[in-house]
C-alpha cells in the first residue's frame, strides 16, 4: 500500500514537470497546437452543425456539404445532366433543361442564395444562376431537387445573380455581357451606346414559390458583375457592381480597365415595382423557357414564354443612381444592418464602403456629378462611408459575421482580411491556399449571419492535395471566425469550381427533409401504384410498360412481343414506402442512363431495341439481400414477327 502511494506521488511530480514545460502563449500556429482536428471532427453517426450549398461552377451542379466536417452529402443536379440520378436523361426531367436554344445539358452554376423571410434564412429554397445560357434555378430544400428553371431573355452571361430580397419578393438576375436588345445582326464595333444590360427582377410566389419575370430593367451597356439586396432601412433597393463602363468590345483586359472609377448601380426596385403595378413598362416579344417540376406527377413541363415586360430607366426618374466606385469592382455586398454597401475594387488595394444614409442625403440634395445615359451619378465623396486600407491586393468579395466585422477575400494577395465596420481598421489576416474567390459565412446575405465559420472558395490548389495529373481538385477552406483571430481548420475538395456558397444551420432544414414520396399522392400518368395496375400496351411502334418494383423483383419481369424498331417506355414505379430504399433500372444497350427511383416515385426510361434477342434488365442500386435476383428479361423479335405482347411475373 505504501509503495503504491509513493508511485502516485512520483507520477504527480512527473505530471507537474510536463505541464510546466508546456508553452505558455497560445500564439503558436499550426493545426496540432490548436486542436483543429478535434474541432472539425464529427464522430461517426453524428451530424454537422451547418449545411453548405456550394456551387459547382462549370460542373453546372450544386453540392451539399456539412460544416465543420467538410463532408460531401449530395450533388444536386441543376443545369447539367446527371446519369447517376437520370436527371436530364429520363423522360420526366428532360424538360428541365429545355431552353429557347433547345435542349442545353450544361451550364456554369455560380451563386446560390437561400430564401428569406423578414431578412432571415427560412430554408425553403436555394436559388442558383446558370451563367452561360442565362437561367435561374430553384432547388426545393424539402427534397433537395431542382424543381424549377426559368430562362432569362435579353441576358447574356447571367452573373450578377441569383440574390434574394428580404422576403424573397424577388430573385435578381443581372447580365454580365451587354447585348443588342432585342438581338439583331449588327457590327460588333457599334457596341457603344447600342448594347443594353438587362437586370431581371423575378418574383417568387409566396405560396408555391413559382417564379415569374416581373420586369427587366434595360440598363446602359456596361458589364454587371455582382449584386446584393438592401436590407433593413435599405430594403427596397438593390445594388449592382459594374465594370467596362468604358463600353469596350475588344481586349477588355486593357480597354475595360481605363476608367479610374466604375459604378455601383443603386436600383430602387420598390419604385419600379409601383410603376409596373400601375401599368408602366413595355411588353416586348421574347422567347424563353419556363420549366417546372411537380413532385406529385414526378414530371417536369416546359412552357415557352412569349413576352417580357421591359422598363427603360428614363421612364422612372429617381429610381436609379450610380455610385462611383474605384477600379472595376467585383463583389457588391451589403452589411446585415443595410447601411453599408461594400465595393470590392478588384484592381485596387483598398475597399470602398458607401453609406446608404449618405446616398439618400445626396439624392435629396440633388448633388450630382453628371449623368450617364440619363442616370444621375452621385459624387464619390458624398456617398463614401470609408475606405479600408487593407494592405492586400485584389479584393473580390466581403461577408459579415453579424458582430460588426467584415471579411474580405483578396484574390491577388491570396488571403482573407477581417476588418471592422465603421472604424475600417484591419483586425486580422490569414492566408488562403491559393487565390481565393468568394467567401461564405452561413446567413452572410441576410440580417442574421451565423458568424462561427467562414469558408474560402479557392481558384487554385497546386500542391495542396495529392496530384491527380494536370487537373487537380478544386477546394474550399474552413476558418473558425468565432475568436478575434481567424483560424484555418480544414481544407476540403469541392466539385467543379466553387464560385459561391450559401450556408444554413442544419436544424432549419432537417425537420422538413422528406423521407419518401407517398404512393397515394403519385399522379404520374404512367404510374402503376399497385400490382393490379401492371400492364404493357402497344401504340403503333411505342410500347409502354407499366412496371412496379419492390424488394426484390420487377413486375412484370418477363416481357415478350417487343420488336426491333419499337420504342419501349419503361415506366417504373417504386412501390417501397420505407426510408432510403431506392431501386434502379438499367437496360442493356439503352442510349440513355439508368433510372434511380425513390420510394413512391415513377420514372421513365426509353429503350430502342436494335437487335433480335432476349435482353436483360436489372436493379442498379443494391437494395436488399436479394438484389442480385432483382432482374428480368425482355424478348425482342424481328420487326415483321407476330409474337403477341405478353408479360408475367413468377409464371
Amino acid at each position: 500500500m505504501k509503495k503504491l502511494n509513493y508511485l502516485i506521488l512520483a507520477l504527480v511530480g512527473l505530471a507537474t514537470i510536463f505541464v510546466g514545460c508546456q508553452p505558455k502563449s497560445k500564439t503558436t500556429n499550426g493545426a496540432l497546437s490548436s486542436n483543429a482536428a478535434e474541432r472539425v471532427y464529427v464522430a461517426p453517426g453524428q451530424h454537422d452543425e451547418f449545411y453548405a450549398f456550394i456551387s459547382g461552377g462549370f460542373s453546372g451542379q450544386l453540392s451539399v456539404y456539412g460544416l465543420p466536417s467538410g463532408r460531401l452529402f449530395k450533388v444536386i443536379p441543376v443545369f447539367s445532366q446527371d446519369p447517376e440520378k437520370a436527371y436530364g436523361y429520363n423522360e420526366e426531367t428532360k424538360p428541365m433543361l429545355n431552353t429557347s436554344y433547345g435542349f442545353v445539358p450544361w451550364d456554369d452554376a455560380h451563386h446560390p442564395d437561400i430564401s428569406q423571410t423578414a431578412g432571415e434564412l427560412d430554408g425553403r429554397y436555394v436559388f442558383i444562376n446558370g451563367n452561360n445560357t442565362p437561367r435561374i434555378a430553384k432547388v426545393d430544400l424539402s427534397v433537395f431537387e431542382t424543381t424549377e428553371i426559368l430562362e432569362i431573355p435579353n441576358s447574356a452571361g447571367n452573373h450578377s445573380s441569383s440574390f434574394v430580397t428580404e422576403n424573397t419578393e424577388y430573385v435578381v438576375a443581372g447580365t454580365r455581357f451587354s447585348v443588342p436588345v432585342p438581338q439583331k445582326d449588327m457590327p460588333i464595333k457599334d457596341y457603344k451606346g447600342n448594347f443594353k444590360g438587362a437586370l431581371s427582377f423575378i418574383s417568387v410566389d409566396p405560396g408555391d414559390g413559382r417564379m415569374d419575370i416581373k420586369f427587366q430593367l434595360l440598363m446602359p451597356g456596361f458589364d454587371y458583375d455582382l449584386s446584393h439586396p438592401g436590407r433593413g432601412a435599405s430594403h427596397g433597393w438593390f445594388f449592382f457592381t459594374t465594370y467596362n463602363t468604358e463600353e469596350a468590345n475588344s481586349l477588355l483586359e486593357v480597354n475595360a480597365s481605363q476608367n479610374d472609377k466604375d459604378f455601383i448601380a443603386a436600383v430602387n426596385w420598390k419604385k419600379i415595382e409601383e410603376y409596373v403595378n400601375g401599368g408602366g413598362g413595355t411588353k416586348m416579344p421574347a422567347n424563353y423557357a419556363h420549366n417546372v417540376y411537380n413532385d406529385d406527377t414526378h414530371s417536369a413541363t416546359s412552357t415557352m414564354m412569349k413576352e417580357v415586360l421591359v422598363v427603360n430607366p428614363a421612364e422612372v426618374p429617381g429610381a436609379i443612381y450610380f455610385l462611383p466606385t474605384p477600379k472595376s469592382p467585383h463583389g457588391c455586398d451589403v452589411d446585415p444592418s443595410g447601411e453599408y454597401i461594400v465595393g470590392n475594387g478588384k484592381l485596387s488595394a483598398d475597399l470602398t464602403v458607401h453609406s446608404f444614409t449618405k446616398m439618400l442625403e445626396a439624392i435629396k440634395n440633388k448633388k450630382f456629378d453628371g449623368e450617364a445615359y440619363g442616370i444621375p451619378i452621385l459624387k464619390f465623396e458624398d456617398v463614401l462611408a470609408g475606405t479600408v486600407k487593407s494592405g492586400g491586393l485584389g479584393p473580390l468579395h466581403t461577408e459579415f459575421d453579424g458582430q460588426g466585422n467584415a471579411y474580405t477575400s483578396f484574390f491577388i494577395s491570396s488571403e482573407v482580411v477581417k476588418w471592422k465596420l465603421g472604424t475600417w481598421e484591419v483586425i486580422d489576416r490569414q492566408p488562403c491556399y491559393y487565390s481565393v474567390g468568394h467567401l461564405m459565412i452561413p446567413g452572410g446575405n441576410s440580417r442574421k449571419p451565423f458568424g462561427k465559420y467562414a469558408i474560402a472558395m479557392n481558384k487554385i490548389t497546386k500542391d495542396r492535395y495529392l496530384p491527380t495529373g494536370p487537373e487537380v481538385t478544386q477546394s474550399a477552406q474552413l476558418y473558425d471566425i468565432s475568436g478575434e483571430k481567424m483560424e484555418l481548420l480544414l481544407d476540403f475538395p469541392t466539385i467543379g469550381e466553387p464560385h459561391y456558397a450559401a450556408g444554413i444551420p442544419a436544424e432549419k432544414l432537417t425537420a422538413n427533409s422528406r423521407k419518401i414520396f407517398e404512393l397515394g399522392d403519385n399522379r404520374h400518368p404512367y404510374a402503376a401504384t399497385t400490382d393490379a395496375d401492371v400492364k404493357v400496351e402497344r401504340n403503333g411502334k411505342d410500347v409502354h410498360i407499366y412496371m412496379t418494383m419492390i424488394r426484390s423483383h420487377f413486375n412484370p419481369d418477363n416481357i415478350e412481343g417487343v420488336k426491333v424498331g419499337d420504342r419501349v417506355f419503361f415506366h417504373v414505379t417504386n412501390l417501397e414506402q420505407d426510408y432510403d430504399v431506392p431501386h434502379g433500372v438499367g437496360v442493356i444497350g439503352a442510349n440513355t442512363s439508368e433510372l434511380l427511383i425513390m420510394p413512391g416515385q415513377t420514372e421513365t426510361l426509353v429503350w430502342e431495341p436494335k437487335q433480335v434477342g432476349v435482353w436483360p434488365f436489372y436493379c442498379t442500386d443494391f437494395c436488399s439481400a436479394l438484389h442480385q435476383e432483382m432482374q428480368g428479361y425482355i424478348r425482342v423479335s424481328p420487326a415483321n414477327s407476330n409474337t403477341d405482347l405478353s408479360w408475367s411475373l413468377g409464371d
Binding site: I516, Y579, L626
Partner: protein
C-alpha cells in the same frame, strides 16, 4: 355502499378506452432501422406505429416466408362487441346489483382477458410458424426443426437480426385498471357490509 358503487361504475367504464388507445405494441429493432418498425394492436385494428411500418414489416417477413399481416381479422369484430357487452353488464351491476356481483364481474373479465390473450397467442404462433414452403430464406433450429419467428407474447426476444419487443399499451392498462377497480369495489362493499352488520 355509495363509494364502492362509484368505483365499480368507473371500473366498468375504463375498458372503453380500448376504443381510443392501443391494447398492445410490437416493436422490431435492427441496425438498419434507427427508427424501429412498430405495430400498434387495437381491439379493432392493426395500426402503423410510424407511417407504412406494417407494409415494411411484411416486406421484411416475406423473406422468411411469413404471411402478410392481414388488414382485418375476425377478432376485430368480436372483441369490440365483447368489450361493449361486458361494459354494459358492469354498468348494470354498478347501478343495480349487490356488491358480490362486483366480484363476479371481475372474474368474468379475467376469463375474457385470458381468452383474448390465448387467442392472440394462437394467432402469433400461426403467424410465426405457418411459413411458405417456398420461403426465400429457410432457417432451422440446432435440433434440425424449422425455425419459427413468433414474436413474444410479452417481453423481448431476439429473432434473427431483429430484436422484438411485445408489451401492453394504455388500452390494456385501462382494462387492467378497470378490472382492479371492480375488485376494489367488491372489497369495499364487503367491508362496509361487515361494519353495518357489526353495528
Amino acid at each position: 355502499m355509495k363509494k364502492s358503487r362509484i368505483i365499480m361504475f368507473l371500473g366498468a367504464l375504463l375498458p372503453l378506452l380500448l376504443f381510443v388507445f392501443p391494447l398492445w405494441n410490437i416493436t422490431l429493432e435492427a441496425p438498419q432501422y434507427p427508427i424501429p418498425l412498430g405495430m400498434d394492436i387495437y381491439i379493432n385494428d392493426f395500426a402503423d406505429a410510424n407511417p407504412h411500418d406494417i407494409k415494411n414489416i411484411n416486406l421484411m417477413n416475406h423473406y422468411v416466408g411469413m404471411k402478410y399481416i392481414p388488414d382485418a381479422i375476425p377478432e376485430f369484430k368480436v372483441f369490440p362487441i365483447g368489450i361493449i357487452i361486458t361494459t354494459i353488464i358492469g354498468l348494470v351491476i354498478a347501478l343495480k346489483a349487490n356488491y358480490k356481483w362486483y366480484l363476479y364481474w371481475f372474474i368474468m373479465m379475467v376469463l375474457v382477458s385470458v381468452a383474448g390473450l390465448y387467442d392472440f397467442y394462437l394467432w402469433e404462433h400461426d403467424y410465426g410458424h405457418n411459413l411458405d414452403p417456398k420461403a426465400i430464406m429457410k432457417f432451422t433450429n440446432p435440433d434440425g426443426s424449422v425455425m419459427g419467428f413468433q414474436p413474444p407474447l410479452f417481453g423481448t426476444k431476439d429473432i434473427l437480426n431483429f430484436r422484438a419487443h411485445s408489451y401492453p399499451q394504455i388500452g390494456a392498462y385501462s382494462l387492467g385498471l378497470g378490472m382492479a377497480l371492480g375488485l376494489i369495489a367488491y372489497f369495499m362493499g364487503r367491508k362496509k357490509k361487515n361494519q353495518t352488520l357489526k353495528a
